[in-house]
């Protein structure tokens, strides 16, 4: 018998983060140069997702910052949120996707390389926090929509040109 999925989809916008527990899933749409970082606890079946725009909060020129916008502050803030929700730090693992270069330019300004820089920055902070990176789908020049299912620990990735894959 067909059983519809019982959970709802928690949606995360640009420079936002949120947490989902099984049977819910968590999704962010239209990642370009931004990176979607998923931290998950397989035992507790809980996952957090942050949609990072920029590599480093030192790039910010404002006094108060939206922590979810930057790789360094965003991943840490997501970790804190997950710990409050009952995840165990030693069990946390990461999957990431995004960091594309949507347009090719000959005069490659540093700002145009923001996708690869975001990916590097996310890996650096995961490393500092001791959270293992289990899988990634990064780079290239396609936009991605990603959805993580805390029940299975699978990250579904949809692109316009290559269809759907799972990591």
């Amino acid at each position: 018998m067909f059983t519809p999925k019982s959970g709802k989809i928690v949606k995360v916008g640009i420079a936002q983060m949120d947490v989902a527990k099984s049977p819910d899933t968590i999704r962010t749409s239209g990642l370009g140069s931004c990176v979607g970082v998923v931290l998950y606890d397989e035992t507790k079946k809980i996952a957090g997702l942050v949609h990072v725009m920029l590599p480093d909060s030192s790039l910010s020129r404002t006094e108060t910052i939206n922590t979810a916008k930057f790789a360094d502050t965003g991943v840490k803030a997501l970790l804190d949120k997950l710990l409050i929700e009952g995840a165990q730090k030693y069990r946390l693992k990461a999957k990431i996707a995004g960091g594309a270069q949507m347009f090719q330019f000959s005069s490659a300004k540093e700002m145009m390389r923001i996708g690869p820089r975001n990916v590097e920055a996310v890996k650096k902070v995961l490393n500092e926090l001791g959270i293992p990176l289990i899988a990634e789908d990064t780079g290239g020049n396609s936009g991605r929509t990603i959805e993580f299912d805390p029940a299975t620990s699978k990250l579904m990735i949809r692109t316009v040109n290559q269809g759907v894959s799972e990591i």
Binding site: I14, L31, N141
Partner: protein, 207 residues
């Protein structure tokens, strides 16, 4: 951070820039295609990144996007966004290839025609704007991408996101005559860098 100094007068001025720029671009498009192109009243709004994405039909909506950077006295990003069906119609008409389709059957000629169309339209938009403001503005060579709107627009939000969580979007939509009441609208989106607003208002004698 919002831009606290931007009031409704400022937004009206930005609307006028969208009006002048897009009117010239629409005329250029009309000449290029030999079709009547209508323009909608421009909008200038200060909104969050996510509100902007929702206004344009959502992050996952697949569009044809032309992007270029503006440099010179002003800095910022400019996008020409077309629904796929509309872009198909324009390119089919322009290169006389009935079956051209950005999703399945995109010939090199058609891709190159789209790039060139972006070049011509953004060039006429920006030169009209440059004349109006009496400022030097240099567009970079445009890039072309057929992908999700959220992914395409993010490159224009990166620079702004360093200083603000809000974007001031100058949006002018255009459409083919006879296609009213459809979703076939194209958009010229201008996203000036936050520093550029002072330059614009000073150039017009508004403080």
């Amino acid at each position: 951070m919002r831009h606290p100094d931007i009031n409704s007068l400022h937004l009206d001025i930005l609307k006028e820039i969208g009006n002048i720029g897009a009117a010239h671009a629409a005329t250029a498009l009309s000449n290029l295609l030999n079709k009547k192109i209508e323009m909608r009243v421009p909008k200038a709004e200060m909104i969050t990144f996510n509100e902007m994405v929702e206004m344009m039909g959502g992050a996952e909506r697949v569009v044809v996007g032309i992007y270029l950077r503006i440099e010179g006295d002003l800095e910022g990003s400019m996008f020409f966004i077309l629904p796929i069906e509309q872009a198909n119609r324009f390119i089919q008409h322009l290169i006389h290839e009935e079956h051209f389709d950005f999703r399945t059957n995109a010939s090199d000629l058609g891709m190159s025609a789209m790039q060139e169309m972006g070049n011509i339209l953004s060039g006429s938009y920006l030169s009209a704007m440059s004349d109006f403001l009496n400022l030097n503005i240099y567009p970079t060579v445009p890039g072309l991408s057929i992908d999700m709107f959220g992914a395409i627009i993010s490159i224009g939000l990166i620079e702004i996101s360093q200083v603000s969580d809000y974007v001031i979007m100058i949006d002018t939509s255009i459409l083919e005559e006879g296609l009213e009441n459809t979703e076939m609208k194209g958009h010229f989106l201008l996203l000036p860098s936050p520093e550029s607003f002072d330059v614009i208002f000073k150039a017009l004698g508004v403080v």
